[in-house]
């Protein structure tokens, strides 16, 4: 049973407890189609009763609202608190990634001798070749092969991450930690990876999305 009550600039949707997320989505879709007369930018509060949503599902709900031009104001739920096990399973490599306001996007290869500095994040759609340097106050994402030197969290942010489609850097720095690949070992990894600081050490792990 869903009720939509509204005032001028805010919509309140009571969707109630539904057995599955798919049904919740269907119900929400139906409710939203009835609200098309509201101006874009309207805030929406949703009560989902006893249900609990994972952070991924919350993002999906937000996306559905955005398709109608609405913003999610609040998601209310009085279900049981999440158990520790659920949390672990739902943890995302980027969940603890720090937020930076400015992001620089580079759509080419960074070649030897080229240097890039940004106070915020850096996204590179291309390779970072040996001899090139990327230094960012925030996070670094390389949508290509990372073979050069990168420094994330250059102002001391230890929560900054470096992720790359192919992680093979000459040297990788996060905050004041400096690492390099071990001598004599030539590991050829063909999957995307992410590097971050865990318990005071830089670790590189598989990038799960």
């Amino acid at each position: 049973m869903a009720i939509a009550t509204t005032n001028k600039s805010e919509i309140y949707l009571n969707i109630g407890t539904l057995p599955s997320f798919a049904e919740l989505e269907d119900e929400l879709m139906y409710q939203l189609s009835n609200l098309s007369s509201y101006p874009p930018g309207t805030l929406v509060r949703i009560d989902i009763g006893e249900q609990r949503l994972t952070s991924k599902q919350v993002r999906e709900v937000e996306d559905m609202l955005l398709d109608h031009g609405f913003y999610l104001q609040d998601l209310m739920s009085n279900g049981p608190p999440e158990s520790e096990g659920d949390k672990e399973a739902d943890e995302h490599p980027f969940d603890h990634m720090p937020y930076y306001n400015d992001t620089v996007m580079i759509c080419r290869h960074l070649r030897s001798g080229q240097k890039l500095f940004s106070e915020g994040n850096v996204v590179i759609l291309g390779d970072v070749n040996p001899g090139a340097e990327v230094i960012a106050g925030g996070n670094i994402l390389v949508m290509g092969s990372l073979r050069g030197l990168v420094h994330a969290g250059a102002f001391g942010d230890e929560t900054a991450v470096v992720s790359a489609y192919r992680m093979n850097p000459t040297q990788l720095r996060i905050a004041n930690h400096i690492t390099r690949p071990p001598d004599g070992e030539n590991v050829d990894v063909s999957i995307p990876e992410v590097a971050r600081i865990r318990t005071d050490k830089v670790v590189i792990e598989k990038l799960k999305l």
């Binding site: 080419r108 290869h109 960074l110 070649r111 030897s112 001798g113 080229q114 390779d127 070749n129 040996p130 001899g131 092969s145 073979r147």
Partner: protein, 267 residues
């Protein structure tokens, strides 16, 4: 047809820029193109020696840009081909004797009379490089399968892109297919993976290059030379022909291998 100004560069020294310029220039002249080669390595001129034209130099590039002589007085016509010309570098000055602006004017002047203008770039990334690149509308980057050469080529491609030359082609020079097969040398894919530009040819390591360089006769003139053959194919690709790149051409086999082959045929 619109004339092309092609700069031949590498960053690192000794990888074969001058040899490549001499051979491509000669090969293009063999295809009935009107070609001029400009040596911009002022102070360390070589191209004239490789072409065997050293004794004909009267004026050079510095004389031309300073107005000491007319452009066509400094151009040396090749002794073998009608359409092949050389504008030699000065030996007694240095790279600062010419500015990028003057180079640009010079190449524009040459465009009127020639189909292809090949600019032989000096090693390094300083003024000599900036001069050579100034008037060019495309670049050929020469690299050997060594990590240092590939690194420098990468740097050069970055600098070329920064100066507006986005369509660079790569020549991999002095490749030894036997060493590649043994895994002792970088292979073509390793190099292309890093440089990610289009490959226009692979020139095998060939002793005949040393002989022809010393004699002042470009290797493309010899039909038997494998490196010469590779340069002839590159020149045809430059003219727009589509030829497959023969990556792993059979290395000249020793007597034992030849014997093995004969046995195989007999079986």
């Amino acid at each position: 047809m619109k004339s092309k100004v092609i700069v031949i560069t590498s960053g690192k020294g000794g990888v074969g820029k001058t040899t490549t310029t001499a051979n491509l220039g000669t090969a293009l002249a063999m295809l009935n193109q009107r070609v001029v080669m400009i040596d911009t390595d002022i102070g360390l001129r070589n191209l004239d020696v490789v072409l065997g034209l050293e004794n004909r130099i009267v004026f050079d590039i510095v004389d031309v840009v300073n107005g000491n002589c007319k452009l066509n007085q400094a151009l040396i016509r090749d002794k073998r081909f009608e359409g092949l010309h050389l504008l030699p570098a000065a030996q007694t000055k240095d790279k600062t004797a010419v500015t990028p602006h003057q180079m640009k004017n010079l190449t524009n002047e040459l465009r009127k009379d020639f189909d292809v203008i090949l600019v032989d770039c000096p090693a390094g990334i300083e003024q000599g490089f900036r001069n050579a690149v100034a008037g060019a509308d495309q670049a050929i980057v020469v690299a050997t399968p060594e990590i240092s050469s590939v690194r420098d080529a990468d740097r050069i491609i970055g600098l070329l892109e920064a100066s507006g030359l986005k369509n660079s082609n790569l020549i991999i020079n002095r490749l030894r297919s036997k060493m590649v097969k043994r895994g002792d040398m970088m292979d073509i894919d390793d190099i292309l993976d890093i440089l990610s530009i289009s490959l226009i040819g692979v020139v095998p390591e060939d002793e005949s290059i040393v002989v022809s360089t010393n004699r002042g006769e470009p290797a493309v003139l010899e039909n038997a030379s494998r490196a010469g053959g590779a340069y002839r194919r590159i020149s045809r690709r430059l003219m727009g022909e589509e030829l497959p790149i023969m990556a792993m051409e059979e290395e000249n086999t020793g007597i034992v291998d030849r014997f093995r082959k004969m046995l195989k045929l007999a079986r």
